[in-house]
């Protein structure tokens, strides 16, 4: 078997955005956060991802703004490099190679040209001790620089970046670990250590969890595991130091942050309440409750106008300084375990899995964005340990995405298992799933598998359970009565009281296979007749998969005793089998390919094969450590045209899988990467507004408006009045009077709009795809010039003469001037329109 170097395993989508503290840029327009191997730049106003700064080859472990240039940011990664980015354009400026696994990065305005990074004491990954080292950045023009000079500042620090903080003006650095706080003064080159008494014997855990220094005064705030916040003062001496204690949190304080002026202290913890303490008047505090999940990080913009909180459910909340939530950036919610399978919603092509407790989340893999949450359990979740609550454990879609079946269960220590089967129908009107039928206690024991019949004639759901039965559920049509259709049980089957573990429909829905421990039974779902039994002992059947397309005569099964078997259904005999410990078998719905994840000595290997061919299409050894339990083939929105044989299986769909550590990984081919790179270069747009369908719509609208204005103000141009009842007129009528142009001006325009024109059709028909794009660019560069005068030279390539690029008919100078004036006017007009 051949290892293919052309295919890489990458993090794409669904990575944690709450791993490290996000950074808000100095103009509060963008939010930078490490997300897997890249740094994402989000717009704080639209929540859209503006740039994806790619370049690191391992987890990004910290992002900070360059203190000497507020348009640049440093990011550090576990790959041992620190990279300097221009985040407005998404350009990698420099790479500093440090060659240590970097855990966090800290900068200070006072220390120009010096970065502080936390690295392991000994240069090995498993090391438990960490040190804070100063990295003196060499002044060299090369894009890739090796850094030689490292000087240790503090030994034995916590790898948690929240436990290190720079003090007033960068004069000292404070680090906390365990029960000890250490303050290092740069000027005196002296450090002071303060330790707390362990309260373990009293059942108190008062170890330090986080730290923040006051930006103006010499005061260090520390958070503790028992929920206390201590404010340390007078810490430049061994004895006379003192601290005051604030206590609101009932659990560990996860994060602390002073606002840039030091007037407020923000803290957060598992209570998912943002607490704002007034500095020196700590009795007055403000709360922002119900933030959804435990707060893990807090960041404050340099001007103090925005806060943002990262949450344990992979979410970043952007909060105005008036303590109001303004935006939420939601990533893929991954609990410590994914109970449901990974699924693809056939309609939205979104990845579906359980997210927030009791919810299913729909996650767009292409846009790396959560689409929405579907509340399955419809019960209030109680944030308390030890309370058993309903959990979504299974979910399944039918082929068209019209029906969704979910199973929720709750196991309380003393009482019986509670199971609910819910069936949801898709409502075209509301564009979401609506509960159709609830079946309480569909089985007497846990449901092991569930699938819809793919056949277009019947709507059939099959569930198997540990109680030894499988049940078929049919949508009973009550067309004669008023009631809408609901689901009911159609057939209950079993096989020798064995427990069914899995089930699978053939691609056309004509066959149904169940794995009853060691026996595979094949049924006909139309007549509920046992057609045949297949068996390959020893070992219970773990997974079953029918082949597709040309291989539909094959049924593949994996067993617990290291067997991968392929039966020919025409002969009802074993075609081939191979000894493999397959932990997961997944069929590609768009081809005959199958993916088998084999766990072997602590790591997982992947084989992609066709059931009909003995040679695997693709294999990868040691894909990741640990067992892969969940994987899915997701359709591509755009076919790849890879000609290389080894990557052909990725042309139509993409294989995603979840590792042991809940990282969502996928495979990326060379062609794909090239394409991405090309598109990212092409994508030079305004950074304040991301390209979204909504934006495109608005851009079109804007262009129309502009054309109209141009025509109105230019009497020489051909009159092309707008069609009646256009959006523009509606909007005009909805706009408050004080922002509208004068009535006489509007009146003539309105009258003209009522006139029927012969050329209106022509204007409408014009697709003007190219023109529209250039127009929008034009407007953007114009707006850019208004807002960002000094950035002009940076833009360089993008800010070419807009008129020339647009390919519009050449205008006279006077006309051009007029046009510019109109554009400016138009912009302000529109923005006010948008604001209301």
């Amino acid at each position: 078997m051949v290892e293919h170097t052309g295919i890489r395993v990458v993090h794409r989508g669904g990575s944690k955005i709450n791993f490290r503290e996000p950074v808000i840029t100095s103009d509060s327009r963008f939010l930078l956060c490490g997300s897997g191997e890249s740094v994402k730049v989000y717009s704080t106003s639209t929540e859209e991802c503006v740039h994806d700064l790619q370049g690191h080859t391992d987890l990004v472990t910290g992002v900070v703004l360059n203190p000497s240039n507020h348009l640049q940011a440093y990011s550090c990664s576990a790959d041992g490099t620190v990279r300097l980015w221009d985040f407005t354009d998404g350009i990698l400026i420099k790479t500093f190679i440090i060659r240590y696994h970097i855990f966090s990065i800290h900068v200070s305005e006072k220390h120009v040209g010096v970065l502080f990074v936390v690295v392991p004491m000994a240069n090995e990954k498993g090391s438990e001790l960490f040190q804070l080292v100063a990295v003196h950045l060499p002044r060299s023009g090369d894009p890739e620089v090796e850094v030689g000079e490292l000087s240790a500042v503090l030994c034995d620090v916590s790898p948690n970046p929240g436990a290190v903080s720079f003090g007033t003006g960068g004069e000292y650095i404070a680090a906390a670990k365990g029960l000890q706080l250490e303050v290092f003064f740069f000027k005196k080159q002296k450090s002071y250590r303060f330790s707390l008494k362990s309260g373990m014997n009293k059942g108190i855990n008062n170890s330090f969890t986080c730290i923040s220094c006051h930006p103006k005064e010499d005061c260090i705030a520390t958070g503790h595991a028992d929920g206390k916040i201590r404010l340390w003062r007078n810490f430049n001496q061994k004895k006379e130091y003192t601290y005051s204690t604030l206590h609101w949190h009932h659990n560990a304080v996860n994060t602390l942050r002073f606002t840039p002026e030091g007037t407020n202290l923000l803290s957060g913890g598992i209570e998912s309440v943002l607490v704002q303490w007034r500095y020196t008047q700590e009795n007055q505090k403000d709360f922002l409750p119900r933030l959804g999940a435990a707060i893990t990080h807090i960041a404050v913009s340099p001007d103090g106008s925005l806060f943002c909180t990262s949450h344990a459910d992979n979410k970043i909340t952007i909060i105005l300084s008036s303590v109001k939530v303004s935006a939420i950036i939601q990533g893929l919610v991954k609990d410590d375990c994914v109970r449901t399978d990974l699924m693809i919603d056939p309609r939205s092509k979104a990845l579906v899995l359980n997210g927030k407790p009791g919810h299913l989340q729909f996650y767009s893999l292409h846009r790396d964005k959560q689409l929405y949450n579907l509340d399955i359990v419809q019960q209030e979740y109680i944030h308390e340990q030890g309370v058993d609550q309903f959990q979504v454990v299974k979910a399944a879609f039918d082929t068209h995405g019209d029906w969704l079946a979910t199973v929720e269960e709750r196991r309380q220590k003393s009482s019986e298992l509670e199971i609910n089967l819910k069936l949801w129908s898709y409502d075209e009107q509301t564009q979401s799933f609506v509960l159709n039928t609830t079946v309480t206690a569909p089985h007497e024991d846990q449901i092991t598998a569930m699938c819809f019949s793919p056949s277009p004639e019947t709507t059939l759901l099959v569930t198997t359970s540990l109680d030894g039965h499988f049940k078929a559920w049919l949508l009973a049509d009550h067309s004669d009565t008023e009631e809408s259709a609901s689901w009911s049980c159609d057939f209950v089957g079993g096989y020798h009281l064995l427990k069914p573990g899995c089930c699978c429909f053939s691609a056309d829905g004509s066959l149904l296979a169940f794995g009853f421990q060691e026996v595979v039974t094949v049924w006909s779902p139309t007549s509920w007749e046992l057609l045949t039994t297949l068996s390959q002992p020893p070992g219970a059947v773990r997974d079953l998969c029918f082949g597709r397309l040309s291989c539909s005569k094959y049924l593949l099964g994996t067993s617990t005793k290291n067997q991968l078997c392929c039966w020919n259904l025409l002969t009802c005999s074993l075609e081939w089998n191979t000894p493999m410990d397959v932990s997961l078998l997944q069929a590609d719905p768009f081809s005959e390919n199958m993916a088998a994840f084999c766990s072997q000595s602590g790591s997982t290997d992947l084989f992609v094969f066709k059931p009909s061919e003995p040679r695997p299409l693709f294999s990868k050894k040691a894909l990741c450590t640990g067992k892969v339990e969940r994987a899915i083939f997701a359709p591509r929105d755009q076919m790849l045209e890879s000609s290389e044989e080894y990557s052909q299986w990725l042309n139509r769909s993409q294989l995603y899988f979840l590792t042991q550590h809940m990282d969502l990984m996928t495979f990326s081919t060379k062609t794909e990467e090239d394409r991405l790179l090309a598109s990212s270069k092409q994508l030079m747009v305004d950074d304040s507004v991301a390209i979204t369908p909504f934006y495109l719509l608005l851009g079109r609208h804007k262009q129309q408006q502009q054309e109209k204005q141009e025509l109105l103000t230019n009497p020489l141009a051909e009159r092309t009045p707008l069609p009646q009842g256009s959006i523009a007129i509606k909007e005009l009528l909805d706009t408050p009077a004080h922002v509208l142009p004068s009535a006489s001006f509007l009146c003539s325009m309105f009258v003209r709009s009522l006139l029927v024109s012969s050329s209106s059709a022509r204007v409408e028909k014009e697709p003007a795809e190219e023109e529209m794009k250039s127009e929008s660019e034009e407007v953007d560069s114009d707006g850019e010039a208004d807002l960002f005068q000094p950035k002009q030279e940076l833009w360089g390539s993008a800010a070419q003469d807009p008129v020339e690029e647009s390919g519009a008919p050449v205008l006279t100078k006077a006309q051009e001037r007029e046009l510019r004036r109109v554009k400016k006017l138009d912009l302000s007009w529109l923005s006010s329109l948008l604001d209301c």
């Binding site: 103006k216 007078n234 020196t280 700590e282």
Partner: protein, 680 residues
């Protein structure tokens, strides 16, 4: 260790009263403490917080404030009088009516001038003279009562806390020069006046005030402007105290410290910052003193808490530990060993109980069934206004005596079948009051520690009592005698006075036999051995001495103990030993107890050194019979009885243990006025 039948007594419903005021004399290191019932206690902070003196209270005589002038202690209260105390005779020396209605506060300046704040709005200046105090003049009279006062250290200004405002007076002219208005509570009812409970005037003219709206405010005394407001609680801030820092006690039971700190370490400019919070009380903190190395606080929950400031200590020592003082350092229980009676002393009454009896037998640790239940025989209410200061019961149970500040009463008791009590009518004239009473073992004499450091010897017989002699030390100094103990054979009497001197008198010759060599710490308990006549003394600093009266020198065992030194765990115990007795069956055994343990010292066993395990009862139990002797040492400590008030060995070799669980005290306290609720 030996096995005893134990009477575990929990019917002594001793109830301390709330602490109202405190004053610390930094020169003599004495803390004076006033309780709500009017009693005053003096603690010696140089001698392990030993409670040296207790001046009993008086009905309708509440104290609002205490103040030291040199070594003299003054108090004032709502009865409208200034009282000076006679600290040697433990009684008020005189009282002076101030003619201003109830007095809320009394303070003095280093020059020896008193000021008091009165209900009628006057601030009165008194001059402290050698023989008393004398009214000097009034400052400008204000509307409303004067709640709190504070001298500026220069002695030229006084800040006065009133209702809704603070006034600053110029002492020379007597005029009010500043009027600082204090806000009413935010959110609460605006109609309720804000009481400025305390003010503190610092030398840089900063004024701190604490009020009933829960604020601590910092004012500039020059300009009369508010510098900063700290909202500590929603309720009252009741006490403030200053030294190097300012501490404030709240009605939630917390103590909050403010420190004068530079916000930027490089700069000299400092400001007052709220720093630490201590929570050692369950109820209101009514009195607070900062003594340099510690914060001493007391309040409604009756305990005195010494909270050390750890940054002032270089290393761990006795003073660096948190101390709570719950029980008085003296005995409130007397026991008649032969008659099996207990006399319980309360400020207002005496109770006489007969112990229960059991004839059961059981294993160690068993609870034996009672044949007869303990029985309250007598409830004796005191006469007059003064509270009882001491009481005694003879070991035969035939005599009972108690003393107040003004009189001594002696009763004849019959407890056999029908209980009867008869007052002995004619007491000798000399016997007017006593600090300590003690009967000889065969009940033929009563010894009373009286004023002028003398001990009166009264002989008792069936019908009458007769004054015999006054025992006096040779030196003419009048020093308070606070401990008495008599030898069982009636030959010797030992006395301890508050100068740490121990005198031994020969009762046959009625003269001073000898004086025990001086030791720097007060003896907290003494006992004379019944057979060897050795005097065993345990001091407040936990040192133990054994003095042979016959040879007039320390015994060999005592010298050995001093040579080797006591175990650190013994020396660092919290509370002083309050009683020493001996086991008549085993002359080697000395029994002693403090609040948390009782201990049997077996003089025949080797002394423990620092390396041996001190509390070894559990280890010994797990060892086999052969190994046991090698692990034995002289100190056998039993901690199975907690919150001990008294422990006695009866004649039938059974132990009486009187416990007063702190939980029971806490449950009888009134509910806290304000309590912090979770998540508020």
């Amino acid at each position: 260790m030996g096995e005893f039948k134990v009477h575990r007594v929990r019917f002594f419903e001793y109830m301390p009263t709330a602490i109202r005021a405190m004053s610390f004399n930094a020169h003599t290191e004495r803390l004076a403490l006033a309780r709500v019932d009017g009693s005053v206690e003096v603690f010696n902070f140089a001698d392990r917080y030993f409670q040296e003196k207790v001046i009993p209270g008086k009905d309708a005589h509440s104290i609002e404030a205490l103040c030291w002038v040199g070594g003299r202690l003054f108090s004032a209260g709502l009865h409208g009088e200034i009282t000076e105390y006679d600290l040697e005779n433990l009684r008020p020396k005189y009282s002076l009516e101030a003619y201003g209605g109830p007095i809320w506060t009394i303070i003095s300046n280093p020059q020896g001038t008193h000021v008091i704040g009165c209900e009628d709005g006057t601030v009165k200046l008194f001059e402290v003279l050698a023989e008393g105090v004398q009214f000097e003049r009034n400052l400008d009279r204000q509307k409303g009562r004067i709640i709190s006062l504070s001298w500026h250290p220069s002695g030229t200004r006084i800040a006065a806390g009133m209702m809704d405002m603070i006034r600053v007076f110029d002492v020379l002219t007597g005029h009010a020069i500043q009027r600082l208005l204090v806000d009413r509570s935010v959110g609460g009812c605006k109609s309720r006046e804000t009481v400025v409970w305390t003010v503190v005037f610092l030398s840089d003219h900063t004024i701190f005030s604490s009020d009933s709206a829960g604020k601590v405010q910092v004012w500039d005394g020059h300009t009369g402007t508010l510098v900063k407001t700290h909202q500590l609680t929603k309720w009252d801030v009741l006490a403030l105290s200053d030294e190097s820092s300012v501490v404030a006690g709240t009605s939630e039971g917390t103590v909050v410290q403010f420190q004068f700190i530079a916000p930027n370490l490089q700069q000299q400019e400092k400001e007052w910052v709220r720093t630490r919070t201590f929570k050692n009380h369950t109820h209101d903190v009514r009195a607070l003193v900062e003594i340099g190395t510690a914060i001493v606080s007391g309040g409604m929950d009756t305990q005195l808490v010494v909270r050390p400031l750890l940054e002032k200590f270089e290393e761990k020592c006795f003073a660096s530990g948190l101390r709570r003082i719950h029980f008085p350092h003296r005995n409130l229980v007397s026991c008649a060993q032969k008659a099996r009676l207990l006399l319980l002393q309360f400020p207002g009454q005496l109770e006489l109980w007969r112990l229960g009896e059991s004839d059961g037998h059981g294993k160690p640790g068993d609870i034996l069934p009672l044949k007869t239940k303990p029985e309250k025989l007598l409830y004796l209410k005191r006469k007059g206004k003064d509270h009882i200061c001491c009481s005694a019961l003879s070991s035969c149970g035939g005599w009972l005596a108690y003393s107040t500040v003004s009189s001594v009463r002696l009763y004849r008791l019959q407890t056999d079948n029908n209980i009867s009590i008869t007052k002995v009518p004619k007491l000798p004239k000399v016997l007017r009051s006593a600090h300590q009473l003690c009967f000889s073992s065969e009940s033929s004499y009563l010894f009373a520690a009286s004023s002028q450091s003398s001990v009166l010897v009264i002989s008792l017989n069936q019908s009458e009592c007769k004054y015999v002699h006054t025992l006096k030390p040779k030196s003419g100094m009048w020093i308070l005698i606070y401990r008495l103990c008599v030898a069982v054979d009636g030959k010797w009497l030992a006395t301890a006075n508050s100068d740490c001197e121990v005198h031994v008198y020969n009762l046959q010759k009625l003269e001073l036999h000898c004086m025990v060599p001086m030791y720097s710490s007060c003896p907290s308990a003494m006992g004379i051995h019944p057979t060897t006549n050795n005097l065993t003394m345990v001091h407040a600093d936990q040192q133990i001495f054994e003095f042979s009266i016959a040879e007039k020198q320390y015994t060999v065992w005592s010298r050995k103990l001093q040579m080797q030194g006591l175990h650190n765990l013994w020396l660092n115990r919290d509370t002083p030993v309050t009683h020493v007795t001996f086991n008549p069956k085993n002359p080697d055994q000395i029994l002693l107890h403090d609040m948390y343990m009782f201990c049997i010292i077996d003089q025949s066993l080797p002394l423990p050194d620092q390396k041996t395990q001190f509390y070894n009862q559990m280890t010994l139990r797990s060892l086999s019979e052969q190994e046991r002797p090698s692990h034995l040492h002289a100190f056998k400590v039993c901690k199975s009885f907690q919150d001990l008030m008294c422990m006695r060995l009866l004649d039938d070799q059974s132990l009486v243990v009187v416990e007063r669980p702190l939980m029971a005290i806490n449950s009888q306290l009134p509910a806290p006025v304000r309590q912090k609720k979770f998540a508020t």
